[in-house]
């Protein structure tokens, strides 16, 4: 007879140990598709590790990949703490990138020192606004925000494509739908010579710290957590649930918008319709792996970035489909979810 009993509180060790365990479990489970694809499993893992840690450049590539993931991970984590299911980070990222390009390709007349902050502010604002409509619809009309934010992703990406083929199109782009390049002064500086990792990483780290402090030490963060834990009790206690949700939604959208800013103003220098290979969705996995903790998001983002960069490198060498990375990320979400069960319940035999 298997008995399932609720635990009073998840044991400390399990709470901290669970995400790394889930990550390891997912990596281990990846052996199955690797084997099915006919690859030499141990060699594949070795190549993956080498692709991430094999050189300084590799590490910097991993950090570059982690930068947008930290921000979209924070976007998801902060919103999910209020039980606001923002699945629209992908679209908010693109809108943020579009705003960054609008502000940073020379159309706006501003002194050079003000351009980068302007670009950052524009991207954050655009992301926040993108999340405003679904949040209002949830707060006022009770419309489920999961579906609205998901559908908005498609709408926004099509909108960006439309802009890239229209008013934002680079006349020098040889016909490709891409934006004009960002002005030098508007770009986020690189952190090291000959490496692609850029100041966006610092923005991400600062945002993680700020989110952590805000959630645990401010009255705003208290309200966010209360609304997430028990909206009825929060309302009864005089907390305005609608206003709190709007605030959290704006912050969440802004963070995702900043991810777009980083990719455009820190990495690529111009906007194309394939800017993001699913950073928004991966951010959700990052947030869950982090247990919705802002500081944990940084660690989880590094893990997911490692998986993508490592798998990319391995896949080029071995000819295994790079979709393995997506598979591993999906498996790690399942593992952390299933593991969460063990943290909440004790399983007894007999």
């Amino acid at each position: 007879m298997i008995r399932i009993e609720p635990r009073e509180a998840p044991p400390r060790a399990l709470r901290w140990g669970l995400p790394p365990l889930a990550a390891l479990a997912a990596l281990a489970l990846a052996a199955i598709p690797l084997w099915l694809a006919g690859a030499d499993v141990t060699r594949a893992y070795g190549l993956m590790a080498q692709g991430v840690f094999g050189s300084a450049f590799a590490v910097s590539e991993m950090l570059t990949r982690a930068t947008p993931l930290i921000l979209t991970g924070l976007a998801a984590a902060v919103a999910f703490r209020a039980r606001l299911w923002n699945i629209g980070a992908e679209g908010q990222l693109y809108l943020g990138a579009l705003a960054a390009v609008a502000a940073g390709t020379g159309a706006i007349d501003a002194p050079p020192w003000a351009l980068a902050p302007l670009v950052i502010a524009a991207g954050a604002l655009a992301g926040a606004l993108a999340m405003a409509a679904p949040t209002v619809m949830k707060a006022r009309l009770g419309v489920d925000e999961v579906v609205t934010t998901l559908l908005m992703n498609f709408v926004i990406i099509l909108f960006v494509q439309m802009m890239l083929e229209g008013p934002f199109k680079d006349p020098m782009g040889m016909g490709w739908p891409q934006s004009e390049p960002m002005v030098e002064a508007a770009m986020l500086p690189r952190l090291f010579d000959r490496m692609r990792v850029h100041a966006g990483l610092l923005i991400g780290l600062a945002a993680a710290l700020a989110a952590h402090v805000a959630l645990s030490r401010t009255t705003w963060g208290f309200r966010v957590r209360a609304v997430g834990e028990n909206p009825a009790a929060a309302r009864h206690a005089g907390i305005s649930v609608g206003r709190t949700l709007l605030g959290v939604g704006a912050v969440s959208g802004a963070l995702a918008g900043l991810a777009g800013v980083g990719e455009v103003a820190g990495l690529k220098g111009y906007l194309t319709a394939d800017l993001s290979p699913g950073f928004g969705y991966a951010g959700i996995v990052v947030a869950m792996l982090a247990g919705l903790s802002p500081l944990g998001v940084v660690a989880a983002a590094l893990f997911v970035a490692s998986v993508f960069v490592g798998a990319d490198s391995m896949s080029r060498a071995l000819g295994v489909s790079s979709y393995l990375a997506d598979l591993i990320v999906a498996l790690s979400l399942i593992c952390v979810l299933a593991g969460g069960f063990l943290a909440r319940y004790r399983v007894r035999m007999g």
Partner: protein
């Protein structure tokens, strides 16, 4: 501009029904899950997995209906994963569904690329052919419209009737409707809450996967990365719009199919004036609007999203 005359052509209505078919399967599948109290956001991934499974089975030599069975089984398997995570383990239905979507689509894409490494043109299979209506083909309007449909579309229509009948006229359907409202009521009458919910999610997921298979086995004849393109999410919106009823689900899917068919044709006429993306955006915007309108006073199954555990009173 002759936009309104589009509505009078047979080909428009035939296309509407064809476009609606995967949505019919998807909405029915989501409806069955949600009536039992479980939100299944794995639908998008299950569409992808079903579309690959069916197509791949045929490409590897199975019959068309064998492919449909393969798709249904694939959907059922992913559905079982979602069911186990959300029903006996009671984990977040939102997160589990998204995880299943990610897992199912990445598994599908990985399998496709592994079995068929990058080819210039995706390989094709011999898809379902229009069935024709035989002696009835001469009925004006209905003849050509229905005659152009394949067996899977007829199956979709039959499914609407079957799901309606099971939900409203059988003891099993009564139990399913009850478990989505008050699982304690079902438990107190000696039935298994977990069994009913798991069964509903597995069956619903199988339906969803068949909807995906329609794309690669009937509407088109090849598998493309990204071909599902949000249809799963649109189905989730349509379920609310359909008030969780099979009849309204059919209506919603048909309206949606008509809208899509219209915008495709309107685009060729007005394409010079408006960018194509405006037309492509329209289905998603329509879904959001439908969702917003339906959200007011929506009769959600009372136990939706709430896990139930034995012995917790």
């Amino acid at each position: 501009m002759d936009l309104l005359s589009i509505l009078l052509t047979d080909s428009f209505w035939a296309a509407s029904l064809r476009i609606a078919t995967p949505l019919i399967f998807g909405v029915l599948g989501a409806l069955v899950c949600e009536r039992a109290g479980v939100l299944n956001l794995g639908i998008e991934g299950i569409f992808v997995a079903g579309s690959l499974a069916g197509w791949l089975a045929v490409w590897l030599g199975a019959s068309l209906w064998g492919g449909v069975a393969a798709a249904a089984l694939t959907g059922a398997a992913f559905g079982l994963l979602h069911a186990v995570l959300t029903v006996p383990l009671g984990l977040s239905q939102h997160v589990s569904g998204l995880a299943v979507t990610l897992l199912a689509s990445s598994s599908a894409y990985f399998t496709y690329r592994t079995v068929l490494p990058n080819l210039a043109a995706p390989p094709r299979i011999e898809p379902f052919r229009p069935l024709g209506l035989g002696p009835l083909a001469d009925i004006p309007f209905l003849g050509p419209v229905l005659g152009q449909q394949t067996a899977l579309t007829w199956a979709a229509l039959a499914m609407v009737a079957l799901v309606w009948w099971v939900l409203n006229r059988t003891a099993l359907g009564l139990a399913l409707r009850a478990v989505g409202d008050n699982p304690d009521a079902v438990d107190a009458q000696g039935l298994s809450v977990h069994g009913l919910r798991i069964g509903a999610v597995v069956a619903g997921s199988a339906l969803m996967a068949v909807g995906g298979a329609f794309l690669t086995m009937s509407a088109f004849d090849a598998f493309f990365i990204g071909m599902v393109n949000g249809r799963g999410w649109i189905c989730i919106a349509l379920v609310i719009f359909a008030s969780w009823r099979p009849g309204k689900a059919l209506l919603g899917a048909l309206l949606f199919g008509a809208f899509e068919a219209f915008q495709v044709r309107a685009q060729t006429q007005a394409g010079a004036v408006l960018p194509s993306q405006i037309f492509l955006m329209a289905p998603y915007v329509l879904s959001i609007v439908a969702l917003t309108l339906a959200a007011r006073g929506a009769d959600y199954p009372r136990a939706l999203l709430k896990p139930w555990f034995k012995g917790r009173r």
